[in-house]
Symmetry: C2
Subunit: 405 residues, 2 copies
Amino acid sequence: MEAEIEFVTMGSVTSPEGFHAGATYAGIKKKAAGSMDLGILFSEVPCAAAALFTTNRIKAAPVALSKERLQGGRAVAVVVNSGCANALTGEQGLADAAEMARLTAKGTGISPEDVLVASTGVIGVPLPMERMRAAFDQIILSREGGHDLARAILTTDTMPKETAVEVGIGENKFTIGGAAKGSGMIYPDLATLLCFLTTDAAVEIDFLRLSLRKAVDVSFNMVSIDGDTSPNDMVLIMANGQAGNEVITEQSAQAGAFQQALEQVCLYLAKYVARDGEGASKLIEVTVSGAQSVAEARLAARAVVNSSLVKAAIHGNDPNWGRIIAAVGRSGAEVVESKVGLYIGEVCVVKEGKSAEFSESKVLEALSGSEVLIDVQLNLGTAAATAWGCDLSEEYVTINSQYMT
Amino acid sequence: MEAEIEFVTMGSVTSPEGFHAGATYAGIKKKAAGSMDLGILFSEVPCAAAALFTTNRIKAAPVALSKERLQGGRAVAVVVNSGCANALTGEQGLADAAEMARLTAKGTGISPEDVLVASTGVIGVPLPMERMRAAFDQIILSREGGHDLARAILTTDTMPKETAVEVGIGENKFTIGGAAKGSGMIYPDLATLLCFLTTDAAVEIDFLRLSLRKAVDVSFNMVSIDGDTSPNDMVLIMANGQAGNEVITEQSAQAGAFQQALEQVCLYLAKYVARDGEGASKLIEVTVSGAQSVAEARLAARAVVNSSLVKAAIHGNDPNWGRIIAAVGRSGAEVVESKVGLYIGEVCVVKEGKSAEFSESKVLEALSGSEVLIDVQLNLGTAAATAWGCDLSEEYVTINSQYMT
């Protein structure tokens, strides 16, 4: 069935029907103009809910709590704070996460078991619960509160990342919204990613889980490296059915449209996360084509986008293309030197494994923009993949050498 | 058999008997005071020779040539240049590498087949063979030439890295020398490591290969990540037997002493390489103990030493210990949060997975020195491993954003 997918102007997690949100400044992170660090996302009716969590052996207390509560595939609200990860905080951390859920439940009149918890920020420090308790009463939930929620989850991000799409399919219409906080990493070994997705579509829980996994695979997992995650990473989707559509399952006529729309939201947010990497001035988009398999194309694309050398060179508009090919060469993907081609922007810089004749000024131009496109052609097969990242700047180091102090 | 191992004052690759070296400036890299970029290491008699090469699918021309020539386990000389990697240079690159060997053979009166070739520097650019041909005549080999060779292999290294040890064992005496150029990487995905080891001990080729592999495993492989190598990486050992000892095999009484001495030389050079990382101001030594296996201890130690976040925090004397534990948590090693302990220098900062009571000024002191010791205790088993790295500074980015330009 043909679907129309359109981005919603000023879209947010409260664009879908039935979702309310609100946030406040509780004094968890350092105060700046307009700072918010504690927020709640709430649905008028219980939701089918699915999430992907960090694979780090060290899991933050809110991750442990949310993972357990999500086993039933249901949630009504999520409470989130920034400024403190509530990770490596032992029994006290678990108690604090549980209290965050209880305070949220009390304020919204639901069961604490229906509240999920997420945190992001400094590891190893306990939450300032005293200040937070007082702040809960200041949170006012509203249908316009999505923008505040998007601000309340930020740490070193320079701007909120949120969007929504409206899907029209036959007689039906539903909306998917999302908010994310950034991976500030050059190598995303602490991606510190949080993402909250909402939809008013009615979605069967098994399909919701499958659909989320697929969407994350082509978006957030192509910004960060699988397995290289912080103790706090969490991507959550809540579907409340308020659009009134028939429940979407894997076999539904609407399944494809839902998947496509969800991937658009995730991709938008993932690219935004990449663009807003700590100290970043450019979005880098790397496409590897002609690989022997999608798995190899993914390996190669991510190796390029995660190479500190490539990122530093792009930061300096340095046409050091050897570093790109070398990253592909060590990625684990099959590479035949004499077949490799490379484009930077529209300029072919490598042909059949050797430097092509190219205009240096044109390459400089391609490197100087706010989006740098790198296109690696392996010429061995038909598989392709795209990954996103940002350049590596002196500012990144400055930010990360003074995070706690 | 008890062996005495002593570092040689001003030791170099020509400290062992029968080795000669020399170098000159051929105009391959930018000229600075005392620059050298073309060198030869030569043995009076043929050597048993073994090497470890890059695992990158993209191999520089000199690597392809040397790998093939070393199959017989014999070499007499090696010629090396810095400033140009001769990688991704196609047929011309292979022809140029072969010509470097021929010119060396001609000057020293040996067969070109007995000459190995190594290069390091910018990828994708052909060697300036015209200038290099003229320069070969300027190279004067001498028994004191080791220091010049150590300088001729440098790229962004701030100083030469060389050493030698003398081994006394019963009536016998032999010497092992070495020179290395640095891995300038925060993540060593292009470790660009070259290392030349020499010994006047007589060593049987199979044992020489085994011994080199073992020594590299506890030294260079604990600075760089396995498989994350540049197209040019090469660690070579040449044994010429001029000490007059009985040939050392795996079963020899002298095998243990040889292994121990070789590891000392490799460790010295590897730590030097770490300390002299691009823009580095500190050596970071990470020991993980109490692991369930050595393999897991190695994984964990390297994850910490390779974390950009840990490196940036140490650069800024920021006691952000959560990043260290998080790196261990994502390393693949088994970790039980409630058992983890962490020391920075002598200060216990984490006990049983939680922040310990510690003096901030003492941690600051431990972070401020030129060597920062990190000791992670998993308390799950008895295996341990140590890895080395350097801090991540703004200068690293500056260096790597302007490498070619």
